[in-house]
């Protein structure tokens, strides 16, 4: 019953989306407003239907409606209330609903915001959005239907993947999908620009904030994903260069490149072709990411189901790429733009360099991710491309990018005079060198660490120099300090939002460097009462306890931790779920600004007489999360609506 109702609504939504897409296209060609309005109504209908589908599925989860197969496979009577809600998007079918719902939501926002302002581009953008939405609804009806009847209705369901029983699960996928789907809007406008031939700057201005919004959510999703990985997966790290992580990281890289190159086009009317290509690439990569996640062609810790959905996604990816790039080729002549520049040393060059490096990093990640396939196709040999490879190739690229973060915002447009360089970069360079020397003097011997300190100090000082200079300019005209600084942030929120994001990245860079260079670990088997030591911490094994939870069984170890004085008891555990063969590690940790103490329970004797424990002292990891918060705050500042400058 529930299944049929949901399936019926999905079918109608699909019909409406197809109709709306076609109508918007016809309306755009003929210019008939009535047709466009009809497409808008269809879009509204789709939104209402998809929302109802989503609500219906949530209701089915909350009421344990096992007549719906998806509910029966992803929940059971023991699943706590909270995870019955997040369980809605815990697996493939539900995540497609969430995705479709967000797309529908973005479509509505697009209609509300741009219906009036963008006459020529808007109908084509709407048509593109609805076309993409139609594809996802097609997936929802054909390849991965969330509403399928389960006959006979089981007394109990199978249960959610235990790794997903975590608070991160509500926010991580939601943020990530908002980011992924968010890039659909810039893509839709880029397509509209290509179709109408208005490849000037209108589409760019229209989508600038959309892009920042999508970028903001994507960043947030990646950060929460890292946090989830760190405290749930129990391997002591936050980023494994897993294909699925890479899939989310690639659009972030190209999206970041786009955010920067946009400024060149806005300022100097250059790089039009490049910008449109970046948007197409970014959107293509979000689809590629979903394809990678869902097709099962590349092995990944995120073991998702496979099936016809992979082929469907590949077909759609092909359609999107060939159409979009075909349009680019078709409009080739229109892209001839004459740029001019007075000196090689200029902000334009710095931004170009930034784009080259970001896209090269994205390419590295892409090529490394698909290389096992290539190797198998060419040599017939299976190889792996993992963290050591990606770190080795990407670290120099990222370090160079961090360095450019300092150069780009302060160097002059068109031509940087020697005076400009001296004025802006004397102190940053000097303090960068001081930082390197200080690190060396304090005993830091890793070249990477010294370089990271020097670069981050350099960039931080450039930001400080710019901010103090601008504040001084305001003070000179008689403002007092705090209003001057606040006004600066608000009035130039895009520029200073960007600076705050840069600061966040600097902090993250320090955290990443610290955790790589200075973390230590050990693994040891302790008898009850025995003590081991690592990096000044002593931890004593006090025994095991068994705990029964509503849907699993837990064996908890107790370890008293001290470093001279007792710091507390850490309780890492292993959780046994009836639906899983292998136990799930449940880590315990003590977070700190300088270092985290991180315990993973290993093998143990059943009588609790001894246990193996993996202990890690992870240095500076907390700064990654702090940097993440700073970064997202900066992005929020940049998103603030433009204040109309009325003089």
């Amino acid at each position: 019953m529930t299944a049929d109702l949901g399936y019926g609504m999905t079918l109608i939504a699909l019909g409406l989306a197809v109709y709306g897409g076609v109508a918007a296209g016809i309306g755009a060609r003929t210019g008939r407003l009535a047709v466009i309005e009809s497409a808008q109504h269809a879009a509204l209908g789709v939104f209402v239907l998809v929302t109802s589908c989503f609500a219906l599925l949530t209701y089915a989860f909350l009421t344990f409606d096992f007549s719906v197969r998806y509910v029966a496979t992803n929940t059971n009577l023991g699943t706590p209330f909270y995870y019955r809600i997040t369980g809605v998007w815990g697996a493939l079918e539900g995540s497609i609903i969430l995705w479709s719902w967000m797309l529908a939501l973005y479509t509505i926002i697009l209609i509300v915001r741009h219906r009036v302002g963008a006459r020529e581009l808007y109908p084509w953008a709407l048509a593109t959005m609805l076309g993409i939405l139609a594809f996802f609804l097609l997936v929802m009806t054909v390849a991965a239907p969330p509403f399928q009847r389960q006959v006979p209705v089981p007394a109990d369901g199978r249960g959610l993947n235990p790794l997903l029983e975590d608070t991160g699960m509500i926010t991580h996928p939601v943020a990530l999908y908002l980011g992924f789907t968010g890039f659909t809007v810039p893509f839709a406008f880029a397509m509209a620009a290509l179709i109408t031939g208005r490849i000037g700057d209108t589409w760019l201005v229209l989508t600038r904030r959309w892009t920042i919004v999508a970028w903001y959510f994507l960043s947030l999703g990646l950060l929460i994903g890292g946090w989830w990985s760190y405290h749930v997966l129990g391997w002591g790290g936050y980023w494994a260069w897993d294909p699925v992580e890479n899939a989310a990281f690639m659009p972030w890289l190209t999206g970041t490149a786009f955010l920067h190159s946009v400024m060149i086009q806005e300022r100097r009317r250059m790089l039009r072709l490049w910008n449109i290509s970046l948007v197409i690439l970014t959107f293509g990569l979000t689809l590629f990411g979903t394809f990678l996640t869902r097709s099962g062609i590349i092995a990944s810790v995120h073991s998702f189901t496979q099936g016809s959905i992979g082929i469907l996604f590949l077909g759609f990816l092909a359609l999107v790429l060939l159409t979009a790039l075909g349009l680019v080729a078709w409009r080739w002549e229109a892209f001839r733009s004459e740029g001019e520049l007075d000196s090689v040393v200029s902000r334009e060059s710095a931004f170009l360099l930034n784009n080259v490096l970001l896209v090269a990093a994205a390419f590295t990640v892409f090529f490394g991710t698909v290389f096992p396939l290539l190797s198998e196709a060419v040599r017939g040999v299976k190889v792996s491309v993992g963290a050591p490879f990606f770190n080795q190739i990407n670290v120099p690229l990222f370090l160079s990018l961090v360095f450019l973060m300092g150069v780009g915002p302060l160097i002059a447009w068109r031509r940087a005079s020697l005076e400009n360089l001296k004025r802006n970069f004397f102190w940053p360079v000097a303090l960068g060198i001081v930082a390197a020397a200080a690190a060396f003097a304090l005993g830091v011997r890793s070249l990477l660490a010294v370089l990271t300190f020097a670069t981050t100090a350099f960039v931080a000082v450039t930001i400080a120099v710019d901010f103090t200079r601008a504040t001084r300019a305001r003070l000179r005209v008689g403002e007092s300090l705090l209003p001057a600084m606040g006004g600066l942030l608000l009035r130039h929120h895009r520029r200073y939002g960007g600076f705050v994001v840069h600061l966040g990245i600097l902090i993250i860079a320090l955290g990443v460097m610290g955790s790589h260079a200075w973390s230590v670990q050990t693994e040891t088997t302790l008898r009850r009462g025995e003590t081991a030591e690592l990096a000044g911490y002593r931890f004593r094994f006090d025994g095991l306890t068994a705990v029964e939870e509503s849907n699993h069984f837990k064996v908890v170890g107790a370890f008293t931790v001290s470093n001279g004085r007792v710091l507390g008891v850490l309780r890492p555990a292993k959780k046994f779920y009836p639906q899983e063969q292998a136990p799930i590690a449940y880590v315990d940790y003590r977070l700190g600004l300088r270092e985290d103490l991180y315990l993973v329970l290993g093998d143990f004797a059943r009588d609790g007489s001894q246990a193996t424990v993996k202990v890690q002292v992870n240095r500076l990891v907390s700064w990654i999360w702090i940097g993440g918060v700073v970064l997202t705050l900066g992005a929020l500042l940049a998103i603030l609506p433009e204040r109309h400058k009325s003089a």
Partner: protein
């Protein structure tokens, strides 16, 4: 049988090879950093994308113990790595060895950077040398900054 009872059963079956802790017991002390470095290059065979160093699985813990034992027996890190490659194939290495076809995965990203830089350089060259005749007057002060200050002041008034 209730779910939890099943889970308890599985737990009992699964765990604790009583009295036989598998990991971290060797006679001669081995440099743990070395063990970690070797393990970090090996792919955990049961978890697909984590390294043997990182994985919390039992198989990985046994593999770490084997690394420890082999080092204690006097093998070089390269020997230990070769031992695993002999058993599992190149697949077990998390970064493909730099020879033959694998060179492609190492060199193509570098090539991409070089080509990208060359293209950017060509573009900048065209921009700086493409326009004939009229040149705007050389900018003496930092134009962006002065304009920003100017706009700022206008905005205030």
């Amino acid at each position: 049988m209730s779910r939890v009872a099943i889970a308890v059963l599985i737990a009992l079956v699964l765990l604790g090879s009583t009295g036989h802790p598998t990991a971290a017991q060797t006679a001669k002390p081995v440099n743990e950093d070395l063990v970690h470095d070797i393990a970090a290059q090996l792919r955990c065979v049961v978890c697909q994308n984590l390294s043997v160093a990182d994985s919390p699985s039992e198989m990985a813990s046994q593999m770490r113990a084997i690394i420890r034992e082999r080092l204690a027996a006097g093998e070089s890190p390269a020997d230990v790595q070769r031992y695993f490659v002999d058993r599992y194939g190149e697949w077990i290495l998390l970064s493909p060895p730099r020879r033959g076809f694998n060179l492609l995965v190492w060199l193509l990203p570098l090539a991409a950077v070089v080509v990208g830089l060359a293209a950017a350089a060509a573009l900048v060259w065209r921009w700086t040398h493409g326009h004939r005749g009229i040149r705007p007057p050389p900018v003496a002060v930092d134009a962006a900054m002065s304009e920003r200050i100017r706009r700022e002041l206008e905005g205030r008034s």
